[in-house]
Symmetry: C2
DNA sequence: GATTGGCACTCAGAAGACCCGAGTGCCAGA
DNA sequence: TCTGGCACTCGGGTCTTCTGAGTGCCAATC
């Protein structure tokens, strides 16, 4: 028995099952793929593949279906990520180029990704942690009330209202503004927080403290770390069968951004596309869903993660290509912005 | 035949059908409600109600189900919006009080609303159109690059990057800043746009024009008008039956924010809760979904709309109460902020 | 005139019987 | 090692039967 033919059979099974959504039998296989052998031979190979745990039959006298292990082998060894067509590339870049700000980039990424893959797309907003402070602005809204705005290198803008006890003159505000900017501008978040906390004001101590607290709060706000955009949920309607078992927990996971972040979080920094198949992950309710994700960010720093969530029965090569392509374009845009 | 007993029968049918999800028969009705008459009498009433189009039977020899018209009558005449329990009120207010900024208020509203009603909640971000400009800030990021930040009375902050041809000195920037603030601060958006466009700069005409364009763009940006938060989609899993016919179009509508806005848009300004039942709306695919919505905003200005989307078969009194309560609390918070 | 008990009628959906054919495993022969 | 052949399995479609909830209507009663 030839080892590589066995792999060819596995590949054929995965491809057929993904496109037809039905268990594939030996006869159908030899008809649709030119394997050069008879169905009986294929049956022998299939029996071997089943012994090794790569495929399984839902019931006797039915065709075979890939197992998680089978998909894993397929993804790891039988897949060459096929490049996107020129038209698709153009579509991605022109669509993303139209974005007006960071939020819009994320929104558009979700959209393009879900449309390309026809799956549920998930894009994490760039995290604060590695970005640097570009500028801090203090705006007086009323004599005893001001708005602290932090502008980060990623283009993210965080704001906080600050109530102060003593009324501030414009001069005092200007002085304060330059004070905090001297300490924080150009620093990465963590250092900026330390520098701000270490400030020893000459006067207006209470006011400075209040402002610093607001700034620190804005910078270390975990809410923004956890911000996530989800799109393409309408694609869930294509699940059709297995509604309760698959869609319900998935919808719940999509609402629970913490869960989503954990799922995405497994994506490695090293530029590659990470694939988690079915029950490989920690959530047994999501045992029939896969995650395809990758990091993105300017200058190949993986500031955040994006990807898609879909049924284990999905077109992995195409999906991986789309995820990778979108991540690259987004990264490039962040580079320029 | 007594007219008010007929209405009591209709009410009983709606209530039973909503709770059991099954067509209700005459016998079950007299058992569960103390109507004081026999099932035969109820049958007569039901026949009359059916003639008038308030109820219908899915097939002969099945119980009755309310029609859209039946729900409409129920909502209009048989419902007294029951007040929320003290505990629920407390839950709403404490949860919403924890919000740190406008976006957070919206996010939390969606969450609390979907949990209270166990439906899909939709909250529109406060529109710009009626808000006023509180302050404009210009921040130099580089000599020929600046960030224009517009702060509105609703607490919304819009920002735009501006590239300018000539390098700007700090003095020139300060002058420009005070110029645009003199024209726009305190004005409602529409007037501010006119004022800014009418500026005749003494020098740096190209720069001023670029900044003004960015500001106008930020203020009249329809994207923000159309921003919407959606939550509780996991509740769709409870639809169970009628998956394709109901959930798919609904998921699509939830993705298409324009459609959602139209649905919500029907909510009147006049403080009341608006209910659109089934096919009353313009989208025939959503003929089995209802929308319960109301406006909200500070000082009873309806700046935006919030509400829920769910199956026609829903608990209208409870849902209407929840929508109203959340709208009130959000309005109050906007009042204070 | 409104209400009620009685009764014949209807029909969706559950339960069971049946059949078909796709697919398998295995074996003997090439 | 591969192939053709053959007996076997069994999920799922189809058809039939049966049951009971629910109806409509009528004559009797209040």
């Amino acid at each position: 028995m030839q080892e590589d033919r066995k792999l060819a059979v596995l590949r054929a099974i995965v491809e057929d099952y993904v496109s037809t959504e039905e268990p594939v039998g030996s006869k159908a296989l030899v008809e649709r793929h030119s394997l050069g052998v008879s169905s009986a031979t294929v049956r022998n190979d299939m029996a071997a593949l089943e012994d090794e745990g790569y495929i399984t039959q839902p019931h006797t006298s039915a065709g075979r279906v890939p197992t998680d292990k089978g998909y894993r082998l397929f993804v790891d060894r039988l897949t060459t990520v096929k490049p996107m067509s020129a038209a698709e590339k153009r579509a991605i870049s022109t669509f993303l180029d139209g974005a007006v700000d960071l939020d819009d980039v994320v929104t558009r990424s979700v959209r393009v990704l879900s449309q390309l893959t026809r799956q549920v797309a998930v894009v994490q907003y760039p995290t604060l942690s590695r970005s640097t402070v570009r500028h801090i602005e203090l705006v007086a809204l009323a004599p005893n009330r001001l708005l602290a705005v932090v502008i980060l290198s990623t283009g993210r803008v965080e704001q906080r209202l600050v109530e102060v006890d003593a009324d501030l003159t414009d001069e005092a505000l200007a002085e304060l503004r330059s004070l905090v900017n001297r300490s924080a501008t150009g620093e990465i978040i963590a250092d900026a927080v330390v520098a701000l906390r270490g400030l020893v004001p000459e006067r207006d101590a209470a006011t400075v403290a209040a402002v610093v607290e607001a700034l620190v709060d804005a910078m270390s706000d975990h809410r923004s770390d956890e911000r996530i955009a989800v799109g393409g949920t309408a694609n869930l309607a294509r699940y059709g069968d297995s509604f309760d078992s698959a869609v319900r927990p998935l919808l719940e996971a999509l609402e629970e951004h913490v869960v989503l972040l954990k799922l995405l979080g497994e994506a490695h920094v090293g530029g590659g596309v990470t694939v988690r198949i079915g029950a490989e992950g920690p959530y047994e309710e999501l045992s029939s869903t896969s995650v395809v994700a990758t990091g993105y960010g300017p200058r190949d720093e993986a500031l955040a993660t994006l990807g898609i969530v879909g049924p284990t029965r999905m077109d992995y090569p195409g999906t991986m290509a789309a995820v990778r392509a979108v991540a690259r374009y987004v990264s490039r845009i962040l580079d320029e912005g």
